[in-house]
Amino acid sequence: MAITERVEKIRQNYVDTMPHISYERAWAWTKSFQRTEGQAHIIRTAQAFKDTCEELSVNIWEGELIVGTSGEYRKTAILTPEFGWQWINEEIDTFPQRGQDPYDVTQEQIDFIRENIFPYWKGKSVEEAFLARTSEATKKIGVDTGFLDTDSKWRNGIGEISADYIDVLLPKGYGGLKKEALEYMESLNEAIPEDKKKMDFYKSMVLIADGMITLGRRYSEKAKEMAEAEQDPYRKSELLEIAEVCAKVPENPPETFREAIQFVWFVQLGGVIAENPLAWNPGRFDQYMYPYYKADKEAGIIDYDTALELVECLWLKYSEWAWTISKNTASFFAGYTNFENLTVGGTKVDGTDATNDVSYMAIQATRECMTHQPTLSCRIHPDCPPEFMEAVTELVSTGCGFPAIHGDRTGYQMLSNLGYKPEDARDWNNCGCVVPHSRKTFEWTSAASISFAAALEFALNEGKSRLSGEQVSIPEKNPKTFESLEEIIEAWKKQFKYLVKHGVISLVTAQEIHKEIGQRPYMSACNEYCMKNGEDLVDGGAKYSIGPVFTGVGLSVTANSLAVIKKLVYDDGLCTLSDIIDAINNNWEGYEELREKALACPKYGNDDDYVDSIARDLADFFYDEVTSYKDLYGNHFVTAFMGISNYLPTGKVLGATPEGRHAMDPINEGVSPYTGSDTSTCLAALKSAAKMKHEIHSGGTLLNLRLNHDLVATKRGRANLGAMLQSYFMLGGFHVQFNTISNDVLKEAQAHPEKYKSLLVRVAGYSAQFTNLSKEMQDSIMARNAHEEF
């Protein structure tokens, strides 16, 4: 079935409009906090949530079947000043003009926000607390540097939660959660200190539930009101149905597919209002939605196409709200991408194939809507049905960059490595871009971004930034005096350790602050064990509290650079280390011939152990070093090679590198080869990437490759692609994602963005509208090597 007229209309609006800043949520939140001074912080947060649910404007937009918006605009971007307001104050005037991820905002709004909202938060935000507690040394290397960044954990809401629809939300509804919280309170004794704290927790659960129930009722009333005024009888009946559905959910457990979809959206919306979160994951959608679909279908009240339209309406809701982030954060997470990761496929906990009609529906909805959300992930197990593989690879061939494709078993191993029980590890879903995750978990999945290439720069430049000359890291000896590759690697390790240490300090500081003022009653309500334990997520209430994740960037650039030094200086004696240092100090100017030699050295991504073994050693060191630290809760820190778009900002702050890269050029994301340097075949690139020990990097690993579109244009070509995926997963690889749009199309889109507004491309771990990316980001995507042989 083709996309319906209704969905197409909503889609067009989504494509054509820029998100608009709304302060409704921030204003309601602020007023509530003014009223609750002195109360326990968790109560204040929950109360602010409830008050906001009562106050937000309620809008049902043209043609909508699934309703609920976080402000007065269809594409709303909200503000969360309690986390950070200073950056908003500094940047809000330029929101509409900025290159990456602009937002509409009016002068009246800006004035109102400055006058009424910011003043209250002065001195109270997480950001200010963080900066006040952080030393100059840490700031110098780890605040807005591009060498080490942790600001997503102290400037914005956290997110990184997968709602537990299966054991908590769908079977209970918020009415059920409220009842449960009240029952727990009954059994507590306020005179016992631990119980007293738990009572605050349960009180906050009641407030959250009340907020959600209110939200549903208000939409129900609004729909009823609109139905009365509606002239078109068809739309009138739709509005009455909306009124009926919203009168029931989210207070009560849904009983039909239609109600379940609306329920799921309300849960998502509540999370947006609570935190404006990143990586707020719908999780294994096909697993919890299928029972509703099956029952409705058997009862004859729904067919595939009707269900699909509802799913597509939900996809547009996921895409209409925009994550509000700073310019710096936007350079790391480009494309309005809020990482609502939705997982389909894989195996059930009992090991049997988990695919069902809803899995295919999700893939079809993504193909037809071409929205940048949800971030669709597919789990592929060794006995994956060929039909599912064909659906997955067929979506790849559209060039939209979706889905992210994951090896079922590697995900399981990654969680097992963190001590998960088998039944939970087998039930993993994706979080954000490529993090294996669970609905039983509290984890900062994208906590620090740490640059391998920065450590190399410091090692080869006396601990100074090559661009600014500033001494940002610990001193090192004159690079021209290194006598062996081993000595250089030791210097790299020393610098890298310093980066890790300051990352740990920053994150523990942020954890302390969140424990004081960062309680998350809304997200805790979505977590089975928080309710059981009477503890918030930040107090360790979840079944699994996992240490914060360090994401390594620049692995291939660094390995390639060390391979160049090994080959040209120590193995072949074609030049001296001095020559290389001079060349990179001069950004290769006047050293073009040496640069050609450097470029011709073995490069990661070609199945050549000469360099791949260096990459693996660096990755292993990263793991050993990071996991040697424990966080505030006593959990080991975790490693990942994720993507986000951080290969751009982290490259921008670096001088030239020995493998031939020029100053300020991008580095690389995840375990991907450096742009354009995987010149052999796609198979070799996969084999190189698989040499990293994926299962120990439990925060996820990411591999982006480009394929020429012709090669996946036929069913047969796609079957071969499926075989490549299975091979990669057999080798232990975790994730791979493809861009398959030809550069001709991208060039055309760059020249005529108006014609290509809906073109989606893979950025890194996620897809975004191509025309929403800055020019440099577009260029870097085009430069990624297209594997034409396949």
Partner: protein, 317 residues
Amino acid sequence: MDVQPFSVNDGDGIRTTIFLAGCPLRCKWCSNPEGFFKSELVGWHKRKCIGCGECAQVCPKGIGINMNQGRYFGNGQDINDYTDAKIVSNHSSLSDGCDACGKCVDVCPVGARTFMVREMDADEVIEKVQRHRLFYMQSGGGVTFSGGEATSQSEFLDCLSERIYDLGYDMALETSGYFEFDKLRSVLERMDLIFMDLKIFDDKKHKEYTGVSNALIKENIAKVAGIVPRKKLVVRIPVIGGVNDDAENIEQTASFVSEHAPGAQMELLPYHEFGRIKYEAIGIEYEHPEFIRPGKEKIDKLKSLLLKYDIEIADYK
């Protein structure tokens, strides 16, 4: 010879293609001209060259950057005269020219000097083939022998195919059909799929464009059909617009196949010009504006002719 991983159009799944050098035919449209030569051959890719001159400095024969300047093969400039004999050169006062010692290949920083034909021993080939075993297993792929002409090194082919047979990988053979059947029998029996070309049905025209008669080829097609199971033989026509894309040629071939190789499939491969870059690299002029790449419509029309003869069409795209 050369080994190319990740081939997907010469048999099922993901394959590694082994190109064996040397060919008794001289097809005027050949896209792998390096395959004419059995001895080692170095090429120069002008487009990649940065002109640094490292190659010229290390060359023991004093050959300059443009190694193709004045290079000639055998004794003449006509394609039919290119022989497997030692390649000679007159670009220096030295009479023996480039002997493919490979020193320039080693020093070229950008890969502009490469071996177009190189000697490899069986162990080296097997190692390269093994590297991608996982991909064969997952995709149902394997190894394809091609050329040049795979059968022109029949003993080596026998040795390689025996070793790969023991590894259990799927094997395919692409051949011009111009070989001594009895010498190849055991190789043919090991194959899972055999592609045989019948480039032009008319023998006179065949001679004109390929340098050899097709009588032996026709004989071999019939013999091969007799020893391999149905559908394991694919008779191929490289369709060259302006040469053999007429209905008569296609129908004659189809009729022959249905009579002498019943059960064989046929495949029509449209001519392409990708070989041009290789001619450039080894310094042979290639100007054939008379050869036209047939369009999809044309190919579809010709395919429909095959159906009249009840012949199944193979398609590995």
